[in-house]
């Protein structure tokens, strides 16, 4: 083959060209990381050419090509036109069919098996040791595998986020319906209003178009929820809802507040005798919107609260952990729930949401 234009065959000076022997390890590691980064979107992604360039630098050869299953390699730099390119393309085809390495130095082609499945071909032009090329191919495979894992992790996270959406507690549905039915004969008007509230609430909880809603709608949902709860609990529940108009338009994920209110009532108010107070407050603070749900009920051991937030709190307290996870998913790790509590001290749960977050729009 006439491709190695003027290059000496693999002799002593070429030995000193052995990439790992000569090169600074930091540079090698940097090049490897660069390759892995660029291959995040796979061989068909936009970074394939940059990755090929990285492999070429690592191996110190004339050209490197990366082909996906379509068989058209992305070159860095383009191989000399004419016979060389044709030979390379033919070799890629051959490797794709045979799924085993092919060619002779200076033109080598190796199949790339990602998760035991053929994903593409690495073509190398120039003087490089076979073992070096093999290692490079293995590294490319690693990078591709990592990219696939990341993509599926993202999908899993999306799926989890969907699964984490709050659900209506059956406990609440049962109580609400019981109270309404009890009121039907004695206070028909009130029971009718409650029924509308109930329908309203159910409609909000079930019918969701997008991922996000506005604080105004969330507060309205809480309103209907609290109206029903007051019918259930009567005088035992005193409620305050206070929201600054500045934050009404802030976009939030669906039903992040309702589980907090439900939690306050179930764990703070229901178990105790006498009137309990629940305060829900939405305020602006700098570029953030801060919403707090506070009860003066039993409170809990801070260690228990920590367990609950970490998702180890048992089945009847998944609500808080869910909200925590969802907020962190959407806004980043610093935007989780903050719980202030102590045994017998009541509980305050604080949600902090940036008023603007790219991609978060009510819809």
């Amino acid at each position: 083959m006439a491709v190695s234009a003027g290059r000496a065959p693999d002799t002593a000076p070429a030995r000193s060209r052995r990439p790992w022997a000569r090169t600074d390890p930091v540079a090698v590691l940097a090049a490897a990381r660069h390759i892995a980064d660029e291959l995040r979107d796979g061989l068909a992604g936009s970074g394939a050419r940059a990755a090929a360039r990285g492999v070429r630098r690592l191996l110190d050869v004339d050209c490197v090509g990366l082909a996906d299953l379509s068989g058209r390699p992305v070159w860095a730099p383009a191989p000399p036109p004419g016979e060389g390119a044709e030979a390379a393309n033919a070799l890629v085809e051959q490797v794709l069919h045979s799924e085993s390495k092919g060619g002779r130095p200076p033109l080598l082609a190796l199949p790339l098996h990602v998760h035991h499945e053929l994903a593409g071909v690495l073509v190398v032009f120039g003087n490089a040791r076979r073992s070096a090329v093999r290692e490079a191919a293995a590294w490319v495979v690693e990078a591709l595998e990592r990219g696939r894992l990341e993509a599926s992790a993202e999908q899993a996270a999306q799926a989890e986020l969907r699964a984490l959406r709050a659900e209506i507690s059956p406990h609440f549905v049962y109580n609400a319906l019981t109270v309404i039915s009890a009121l039907v004969s004695s206070e028909p008007d009130r029971s009718r209003e409650l029924m509308i509230d109930f329908a309203d609430y159910i409609r909000y909880s079930l019918a969701r178009h997008g991922e996000y809603t506005t604080v105004a709608d969330e507060f309205h949902a809480i309103e209907t929820y609290l109206a029903l709860q007051r019918a259930v609990l009567g005088e035992r529940l005193a409620v305050q809802v206070r929201v600054a108009p500045e934050v009404l338009a802030v976009a939030v994920p669906y039903l992040v507040l309702q589980p907090l209110v439900e939690n306050a009532i179930r764990h703070g108010i229901e178990p105790r005798t006498g009137t309990g107070h629940v305060t829900v407050r939405g305020e602006a603070e700098g570029n953030d919107c801060v919403i707090s749900v506070e009860d003066d009920g039993l409170g809990m051991d801070p260690a228990l609260a920590e367990e609950i937030l970490a998702g180890r709190g048992g089945s009847d307290s998944v609500g808080l952990a869910n909200v925590d996870r969802r907020l962190r998913h959407v806004y980043g790790p610093w935007y989780g729930l903050v719980v202030e509590t102590g045994p017998g001290e009541g509980t305050r749960v604080v949600v902090r949401i940036p008023r603007f977050q790219p991609g978060v729009m009510p819809g």
């Binding site: 999306q158 986020l161 107070h277 609260a305 989780g336 903050v338 202030e340 001290e345 902090r352 991609g359």
Partner: protein, 143 residues
């Protein structure tokens, strides 16, 4: 407690003047956050899927945007033409400054008083125009 908890101060100390929920023992509450912030959290910036209209009418939308812009430019142009003409007018026709209406010199009326009703009128016009155009567009799309 990690720095997450360090949030804005005043969260842990309870503000004074809080109503009835202020038992004397309140400061004993402890604050809890999920300390394990190393837990893997991918930030999802899910761009809300725009509805079908995205593909439905690129041209339709461009048209609509253009007609909105046309009105903005037209109405803005009216106001700008009026205001921008004044200094030039006073510069080239200084005699105008000697005219006065009910004791107030004409320039003061033209610059200091007249623009305000003009602005409100134009804004009112634009507001109704823009809303009507939007309604027409909605009707067109939802037909």
């Amino acid at each position: 407690m990690n720095r997450h908890a360090a949030g804005p101060p005043g969260r842990d100390g309870r503000e004074p003047g809080k109503p009835y929920r202020d038992p004397p023992t309140a400061p004993r509450r402890k604050r809890v956050v999920l300390a394990d912030s190393r837990a893997p959290v991918t930030v999802l910036r899910t761009v809300v899927e725009l509805e079908e209209q995205t593909s439905y009418g690129e041209a339709l939308v461009t048209n609509f945007i253009r007609s909105q812009l046309k009105w903005s430019v037209l109405l803005g142009g009216i106001v700008l033409a009026y205001l921008a003409a004044l200094p030039a007018l006073f510069y080239f026709v200084p005699a105008l400054t000697d005219v006065s209406v009910a004791g107030v010199p004409l320039p003061w009326l033209l610059v200091g008083v007249a623009p305000f009703p003009l602005l409100f009128g134009v804004a009112y016009w634009y507001n109704s125009k823009a809303e009507r155009q939007e309604q027409a567009f909605v009707a067109l799309v939802e037909k």
